[in-house]
C-alpha cells in the first residue's frame, strides 16, 4: 500500500491568490492513500524542501505529489529533494496548479476546484509509479568532427588539447574549408591564410588528431557516448603515406585543363594536383574525370615521374568503422547558385562575378597573383559595382528568406581593399540595409565610406546589361528618388550563402533535425545553441546558421567544451523513462521497430517455458535503454500492448484520465 504525501505550494501569492491552498491541502488529507498533506509559502525554497524531506522520513512516504508550478520548472528540484530523503526520485509527481490553474483563472472557487482535480490526478498517477533507476552506458573517449573548415579545425584542436582523440573527416582533399579561399578577414584585415594555416598545421601535427581527408560519412549507428560510424575513404589514386608533396606530377601531367575549383574555376589545374600550396595533408589527388590514364588506360606519366612510387591507379574506395562518444557537425556552406537571377547577367558576362570569386582574384596565391584584373580581358577595372543581398532576404522563391549575415561586412572589406590598392578605381555599392552588428564592425564600414570614399547607394539593382563592352548597372537610388545607371567594368554579386548540401544526408544519418532552409536545428535557440536535439551531436559554424569567422570559432570552442564535458565522463546516466516490452505478451511482429526513430528496438529469440517441461523459442522485442528516448511511439503501435513506457505507462495515463473525468 502506497503512503502518499501531498505538498501544496502557495508560490507566494502566485498560487495562493486564486487557489485556496489551505483548503486543497485539507481536502487531500482524506484522499485514499494520502497519509500526509501540507501547504507552504515556497515549496521550492530551502525550507520548503526541508519540509518535504522531513515528511518523507517521518511518515515513511512511498510517493509524493507537489502541487506547485510547472514540472518543467521544478520537477528536478523536488526529485532531488526526495532522493536526498531516501525516496526514489521517480516517486515524485507534480500537479501544475500555477501555469495551468491559478495564473489563468480568476474565480477562486473555480480555480480551487480545478486545483483539487489536478492534485487528485497526480495522486492517481503517483500511486502507480514504480521506483526507477537511471541506467548507465559507457562513453567512448573519442570524438568525430565532420568537416575540416575553421569550425571543425577549432573544435578538433580544443578537444584534442583536453587530451581526447579526435578524427576530422573532410570530404575534400585538404582541410581548410572556405576560410582557406579568403584573402583578408574583416574587421582587422588579417590575411586569412596567415591565421588559418598555422591551425591546419597544428591539426596535422597533433598526436591526438587524425585527419581523414577526401573521406565521407557513410553510415552512423549507435547513440550518445557510443556512436559507430562508417567512413568512406575515397580513392585518391595516390598513396598518402608515400607522397611527399613535391608536385613533380603536377608539372608533368599532360591533362592540365581541369577547372581549378579552389580558385572558383577562374583558372585551370592538372588532373593530378594538390589543391593549394599549404594543403593539409600535402598530398596529391587525381581527378578521375580528368585523368587520361584512368579514363583511357593510356598515359601513366605521373607514375613514371613520381620518385617515391606513390601513384596507384588501382586504388579503390575503402571503408573504416570507428567508435565515437560525441560528434561535431561542421559541414559549412556554399554560395547559392545564381541561375534564378539572370537580371544580374552572371551567366552571360565574365565580368559579373561573385564575392568569393573576387576573394580569389585579390588573393596573392590566386589566379592573378593578387593583381585585380577582370576575367574577360585581363584589364584593370576602373569602375566596380557591388550588389548586396543577391538572393538573401528573398521570399519570392528564387533565393533564401534569411539574411546571409556576412555579406555587408565582406563587401565593405572588398570595397575598402580595392580603394586602398587602386585609388583611381571608382567603387559603388548598392545596398538595401547595411547590417554591421559586432565589435568594431560599424566603425569598419564607416571607414570604407568616410576614409576610402566608397559610394554607397541605397537601392537595389534592377538589371545588369552589356552595352558597347561596358556593364550597365541600372538601379534605384532611393535617397535621391532617382534611377541610376552606372557604367561599370566589373560587377560583384554578394550571393546568399546556403548550408553545404551534403548536410542533408548527414542529418538523416544522425537523426538530427534540419529546418526548411537546410540549416541544422539547435536544441534550444537561446540556451542550447550548440547542441543538436540528438544527444551527443553538436553543431559548429555555418551548418547551423549564417555566421562570420569569430562567431564560428566561438561556437566551435563551445562545441568542444560540450564534447569534453561529455567525454570526461566514464558512464552516462540514461533516462529511465524508456519503453520496455513484456516479453510474455510480445508477438515479435516488428511493428514497434518500424516506428522507432532511434533504432532502439531489436529482436531476440528467447526461450519460454510452456509448462510440462516443454519450451518454446519466440522472437521478442528488446529495447536498448541507452538508445530509447522515451517517446512512446512503439507503445501505441504494439497491438498486444506488450510495449509500455516507464513513467508514462498506459495504466498511469488511464488512471489520470479517470481522475480528471470523475465528477
Amino acid at each position: 500500500m502506497q503512503r502518499i504525501g501531498v505538498f501544496i505550494c502557495w508560490c507566494g501569492s502566485n498560487i495562493a491568490a486564486t487557489v485556496d491552498v489551505e483548503r486543497v491541502a485539507e481536502i487531500m488529507k482524506s484522499e485514499p492513500g494520502v497519509v500526509y498533506s501540507a501547504n507552504y509559502q515556497y515549496m521550492c525554497s530551502e525550507n520548503g524542501q526541508q519540509l518535504i524531506k522531513q515528511a518523507i522520513k517521518e511518515h515513511n512516504l512511498t510517493g509524493i505529489v507537489v502541487g506547485a508550478c510547472s514540472p518543467r520548472m521544478h520537477e528536478a528540484t523536488f526529485r532531488k529533494a526526495a532522493e536526498a530523503a531516501g525516496l526514489n526520485p521517480y516517486m515524485v509527481e507534480i500537479a501544475n496548479i500555477r501555469e495551468h490553474c491559478s495564473w489563468i483563472h480568476k474565480d477562486m472557487e473555480e480555480a480551487t476546484e480545478k486545483a483539487v482535480v489536478l492534485v487528485r490526478t497526480a495522486i492517481a498517477k503517483v500511486k502507480l509509479n514504480a521506483p526507477l533507476t537511471a541506467g548507465e552506458s559507457p562513453v567512448v573517449k573519442r570524438a568525430l568532427v565532420i568537416g575540416g573548415g575553421i569550425a571543425g579545425i577549432q573544435a578538433a584542436l580544443d578537444i584534442a588539447d583536453a587530451g581526447f582523440e579526435v578524427d576530422i573527416v573532410e570530404k575534400n582533399a585538404t582541410i581548410g574549408g572556405r576560410m582557406a579561399q579568403l584573402d583578408k578577414t574583416f574587421p582587422t584585415l588579417d590575411c586569412s591564410a596567415c591565421i588559418l594555416t598555422p591551425k591546419m598545421v597544428d591539426c596535422a601535427q597533433h598526436e591526438k588528431i587524425d585527419i581523414l581527408s577526401y573521406s565521407e560519412i557513410e553510415d552512423v549507428k549507435g547513440f550518445v557516448g557510443n556512436f559507430s560510424v562508417t567512413i568512406r575513404k575515397k580513392a585518391r589514386y595516390v598513396d598518402e603515406t608515400k607522397c611527399t608533396g613535391c608536385k613533380i606530377c603536377m608539372e608533368k601531367c599532360p591533362s592540365k585543363k581541369g577547372l581549378n575549383t579552389f580558385n572558383m574555376g577562374l583558372n585551370t589545374r592538372p588532373a593530378i594536383h594538390i589543391p593549394f600550396a599549404q594543403a593539409i595533408p600535402n598530398v596529391a589527388v587525381i581527378d578521375p574525370e580528368q585523368c587520361i590514364k584512368l579514363k583511357t588506360g593510356k598515359c601513366g606519366i605521373c607514375q613514371k615521374f613520381c620518385g617515391v612510387g606513390a601513384i596507384d591507379y588501382e586504388q579503390k574506395d575503402t571503408f573504416i568503422e570507428r567508435q565515437y562518444g560525441a560528434i561535431v557537425v561542421a559541414t559549412g556552406f556554399k554560395p547559392i547558385s545564381l541561375e534564378s537571377f539572370n537580371e544580374y547577367g552572371y551567366d552571360d558576362n565574365k565580368d559579373v562575378i561573385t564575392s568569393l570569386e573576387l576573394e580569389r582574384l585579390m588573393n596573392a596565391a590566386g589566379p592573378t597573383n593578387g593583381v585585380l584584373l577582370r576575367p574577360s580581358d585581363g584589364e584593370h577595372p576602373k569602375v566596380i559595382t557591388f550588389i548586396q543581398c543577391v538572393g538573401s532576404r528573398d521570399t519570392s522563391g528564387c533565393g533564401k528568406p534569411y539574411c546571409s549575415k556576412v555579406c555587408c561586412m565582406y563587401t565593405a572589406k572588398h570595397a575598402m581593399l580595392i580603394r586602398e590598392k587602386y585609388p583611381d578605381t571608382e567603387v559603388h555599392v548598392f545596398y538595401i540595409d547595411v547590417r554591421t552588428p559586432g565589435k568594431n564592425y560599424d566603425e569598419f564600414f564607416r571607414r570604407a565610406v568616410e576614409q576610402y570614399g566608397v559610394d554607397y547607394i541605397k537601392g537595389m539593382v534592377g538589371k545588369v546589361y552589356n552595352e558597347n563592352g561596358k556593364l550597365m548597372v541600372q538601379g534605384s537610388n532611393l535617397i535621391d528618388n532617382e534611377q541610376v545607371t552606372i557604367e561599370s567594368d566589373l560587377v560583384v554579386l554578394a550571393a546568399a550563402i546556403e548550408p553545404e548540401p551534403s548536410v542533408r544526408k548527414i542529418a538523416t544519418l544522425l537523426t538530427a533535425s534540419i529546418d526548411t532552409n537546410n540549416f541544422l536545428t539547435e536544441s534550444h535557440a537561446k540556451l542550447r545553441p550548440v547542441e543538436s536535439p540528438t544527444a551527443g551531436v553538436y553543431l559548429a559554424g555555418m551548418c547551423q546558421g549564417p555566421k562570420d569567422i569569430p562567431e564560428t570559432v566561438s561556437q566551435a570552442s563551445a562545441c568542444a567544451a560540450k564534447v569534453i564535458g561529455l567525454l570526461v565522463k566514464d558512464k552516462l546516466k540514461t533516462n529511465p523513462c524508456v519503453a520496455t516490452p513484456d516479453e510474455m505478451m510480445c508477438n515479435g511482429c516488428s511493428q514497434c521497430a518500424n516506428v522507432c526513430a532511434y533504432g532502439a528496438i531489436t529482436y531476440i529469440d528467447k526461450e519460454f517455458r510452456l509448462g510440462g517441461g516443454k519450451t518454446e523459442v519466440r522472437r521478442v522485442a528488446s529495447v536498448n535503454p541507452a538508445v530509447c528516448q522515451g517517446c512512446g511511439a512503439c507503445t501505441v503501435t504494439c497491438p498486444s500492448g506488450a510495449m509500455d513506457l516507464k513513467g508514462f505507462s498506459s495504466k498511469q495515463i488511464m488512471s489520470e484520465v479517470e481522475a480528471i473525468c470523475k465528477k
Binding site: 508477438n587 518454446e616 497491438p639
Partner: protein
C-alpha cells in the same frame, strides 16, 4: 470442383507419402456436407477424411502460427484471399516461411449455407457448381440456385483472384475476376446522416454477445495475449457490460488490425450474430487508400504498413472525413 479436390488429395498424399512434409493443412469432412472443418493431416491414412468443396470458406493461414513451429515442413492449401493473410503473417514474423510449402488452390467463391437455407433448401447433401448457377442436392431433391444469391459475403465482394504466395499451384479452371465492389456498403453508410449511422451501428453492435469468435478467427488478431484479456491494458473486459463496452471492443479491435487487416472477411463469416464486422475493417482500408495511397495488406511479405509510415504532407486529422481532407 471435384477434379480440383482429387488433384489436391493426390498432391497431399504424395507430399506426406514421400516425407517431404510432416503435415498438410486442409479441410476434413464435418458432420454434414456443408460444414467441412480445418484440419491437419499427418499421414496418408488420415487423408481419407480430406475434403475440398464449395463450403471450404475458412482461411487456414492462422493455423500456421503454431504449425510452422513444429518439427518438419508443413504444407498448406491457400485460396487467393488466404494468401494475403499468409503474407501478412510472414511480414510480422509470425510464420517461419521456410518451414511452409504453400499450395495455391483454385477458388470459385465459397457458399453460405445460411443463404441456401433462406432460399428454402435444407439438408444439403451435395452441391455442383456450374458457372453462374449451382445445383444443390438435398435430402428432399435437387434445386438449381443462382450462385450470386448464395455466396458468402466475403466472396460476393471478392477483392482478388491472384495468389500472392505460392510454392505450387492447383488451378484447373479459370477463376472469374473480382468485381471491385467491396467498398459499396461502406459508401452507403458514409452517405447516411450521422444519426442514421449511429442508429445503424447501435443496432448491429447491440447484438454482440462478446463470444470473441471474430477475434479468434482473425489472422491479424493473433496476439499471444489480447489487450482485452490483459488487466494492465486498462481496457480488459470479458463481457459487454454496457453499450460503451460494445463499441469499445469493436473500435479497438478494428484499430488494432488497421493497416494489417487483409480483408479476408472471416470475422463476418463466423459471427453468430451476423454483425457485418467487415464493414468496420473496410472503412479503415478505404480511408487508408484515400489518405495515404492504395495499400493492400498482405500483397507482399515485407515493408511497412500505413500506420508505421508517414509523409510530411499527410492530411490533418481535424480535416479528414471519409478518406479525404474536407
Amino acid at each position: 470442383m471435384k477434379d480440383v479436390e482429387m488433384k489436391m488429395l493426390e498432391r497431399a498424399k504424395a507430399l506426406l507419402g514421400s516425407g517431404e512434409v510432416a503435415r498438410v493443412i486442409g479441410w476434413k469432412k464435418g458432420e454434414f456436407y456443408f460444414d467441412p472443418v480445418p484440419a491437419s493431416f499427418e499421414s496418408v491414412e488420415e487423408l481419407s477424411d480430406f475434403v475440398y468443396n464449395g463450403f471450404c470458406g475458412a482461411n487456414l493461414s492462422k493455423y500456421l502460427i503454431q504449425m510452422s513451429k513444429k518439427e518438419g515442413k508443413t504444407a498448406i492449401f491457400l485460396k487467393p484471399c488466404d494468401s494475403y493473410s499468409f503474407n501478412q503473417l510472414v511480414k510480422e514474423h509470425r510464420i517461419v516461411r521456410e518451414n511452409i510449402h504453400v499450395i495455391a488452390i483454385e477458388c470459385q467463391g465459397k457458399l453460405d449455407i445460411e443463404k441456401i437455407k433462406a432460399q428454402g433448401v435444407s439438408a444439403v447433401t451435395e452441391v455442383e457448381e456450374d458457372g453462374d448457377t449451382v445445383k444443390v442436392s438435398s435430402l428432399y431433391g435437387e434445386t438449381t440456385l443462382n450462385k450470386e444469391d448464395i455466396l458468402l459475403v466475403k466472396c460476393a465482394t471478392c477483392k482478388s483472384k491472384t495468389h500472392q504466395a505460392k510454392d505450387e499451384e492447383i488451378v484447373l479452371h479459370e477463376m472469374p475476376e473480382s468485381k471491385n465492389n467491396r467498398f459499396d456498403e461502406v459508401e452507403k453508410l458514409e452517405a447516411m446522416t450521422e444519426t442514421e449511422r449511429f442508429a445503424f451501428w447501435k443496432l448491429q453492435l447491440q447484438k454482440c454477445i462478446r463470444c470473441n469468435a471474430c477475434r479468434n478467427v482473425c489472422p491479424a488478431c493473433s496476439c499471444i495475449k489480447c489487450v482485452f484479456d490483459n488487466p494492465a491494458s486498462g481496457i480488459a473486459a470479458k463481457a459487454n457490460d454496457s453499450e460503451f463496452e460494445e463499441k469499445l471492443f469493436h473500435i479497438i479491435r478494428a484499430f488494432h488490425v488497421a493497416g494489417r487487416c487483409t480483408d479476408c472477411g472471416e470475422c463476418s463469416r463466423v459471427c453468430p450474430q451476423n454483425i457485418p464486422l467487415h464493414l468496420l475493417n473496410r472503412k479503415f482500408i478505404k480511408d487508408i487508400d484515400g489518405l495515404y495511397g492504395e495499400y493492400q495488406a498482405g500483397e507482399t511479405a515485407e515493408g511497412k504498413t500505413p500506420l508505421t509510415s508517414y509523409t510530411e504532407g499527410d492530411k490533418e486529422p481535424n480535416d479528414v472525413v471519409d478518406g479525404e481532407a474536407k
